[in-house]
Symmetry: C2
Subunit: 253 residues, 2 copies
């Protein structure tokens, strides 16, 4: 069961991010604070509707390529959580260049590689860097060396496409390289923040029916996020640094 006092979700205006927010506020013991970050709060109609019925929900502007917006978002979260800090950061926002789905070596461009890397690797890392003091603050209120989302956790949403071992179909150079960079970032964080008892876990949400994917997708966002929240809630010290699918199965590097 997922239980945390405060949770921040990036890319929460649609797809998995929106579903995370919906399910978090509907939990039997919902978080006191859910921060729904997105690029254009003014256009996030569904989030706006949710806010009107849920005072625990706060919509915040955050754009992964705009570091000023990351700084500003950090300040807003700080003001709300105060000394309790932030328990869970879900780095969900990402980019997938649909037109690169079938790209071969001849089609690869530096522009596509750069855009994917900026959004999928540098972005989440900069968000994590900004929020680290708040996450540390939450971690310090836990007991002993326990590690869990109830204390402090950084959840990085990645993809099975970023498994070298699993890669049997090539293509998607930008998506694969940027997401495997995120996997390495998660491992770095897991090692570096272990003394702080901050759990760092990678999640593959499954092939979902979102704006990003096509008709080949297998599950709905609801079918992905429901088990994923349980998996995140049940991760402990022994899972730190690893990659799981939404059902809790370990995915090889």
């Amino acid at each position: 069961m997922f239980k945390a006092r405060s949770v921040l979700v990036t890319g929460s205006n649609r797809g998995i991010g929106l579903e995370f927010v919906k399910q978090l506020i509907q939990l039997p013991n919902p978080p006191e604070h859910v921060f729904a970050c997105c690029r254009s709060p003014e256009n996030a109609v569904e989030l706006k509707n949710l806010v009107s019925e849920n005072p625990s929900l706060k919509v915040i502007k955050l754009e992964l390529e705009d570091y000023t917006s990351i700084e500003e978002a950090g300040k807003q979260v700080e003001q709300v959580v105060g000394e309790n800090g932030l328990n869970v950061l879900i780095n969900n926002a990402g980019y997938f260049g649909v037109s690169e789905m079938n790209e071969k070596l001849e089609d690869v461009t530096p522009e596509s590689l750069t855009k994917h890397f900026n959004i999928n690797a540098i972005g989440p890392l900069m968000v994590t860097k900004r929020l680290l003091p708040l996450i540390r603050c939450a971690a310090q209120q836990g007991v002993g060396d326990e590690m869990s989302a109830s204390r402090a956790a950084i959840i990085n949403i990645t993809t099975k496409c970023a498994s070298i071992a699993d890669n049997g179909s090539a293509r998607m150079y930008g998506y694969r390289t940027s997401k495997i960079a995120l996997n390495m970032i998660n491992k770095n964080l897991a090692v570096e923040l272990k003394p702080d008892n901050i759990l760092c876990v990678l999640m593959h949400p499954g092939w979902m029916k979102t704006d990003m994917t096509g008709p080949n997708a297998l599950i709905t966002t609801e079918e992905s996020v429901r088990p994923m929240l349980d998996v995140i809630g049940s991760r402990r010290r022994e899972h730190n640094g690893l990659l799981f699918d939404y059902k809790g199965n370990l995915i090889p590097w």
Copy 2:
């Protein structure tokens, strides 16, 4: 034993790259053409001296962040190898931000991440893209489905630091993320170019005493490159897409 008609090495003005060139031209059966690529041929004193005694050696300007130079280098190689194509491309040039050696999350900058990614991931991929027609040309002259450096191979020089499984000390965000991106690129190439019988292999050269490393290095460039050439020369179809150290040991992802 390493044997190939033509070999191109990037970053060959010093360190491992220079050592590759030296040992290639000293082989009992040296390549007909060795292309030593570097950013500033005019300043590459050691390469210049080698050229004067070795007509098989050609020094070519190539800068990983300058795509015009990659295009120009491709044209020069084309003119020399003609219809025989290029047998072996060794993507050796790379970047390691020494000042990031001990960087923690608080120290990470987008600039460092970008520079590492540009040079260590995008650069080698753009070089490979430009030279692919020449490598394909060499591959087409082989027999059946054999795969080896004697036919056609892309060798990507990476690092054990880019192994998530092996990462127990964190730090070096830019170096680790860019080199693991290169590992994914190699796997993509291995899958994509398998029907062309082009071998794609990653090599970890060991901790060498070069300008890039410090006094903790374990071996000289000569002690790295000598066994590495043998390992490259003995890689076959079953090794395609994998990562080996300079002694031929498999490194996990």
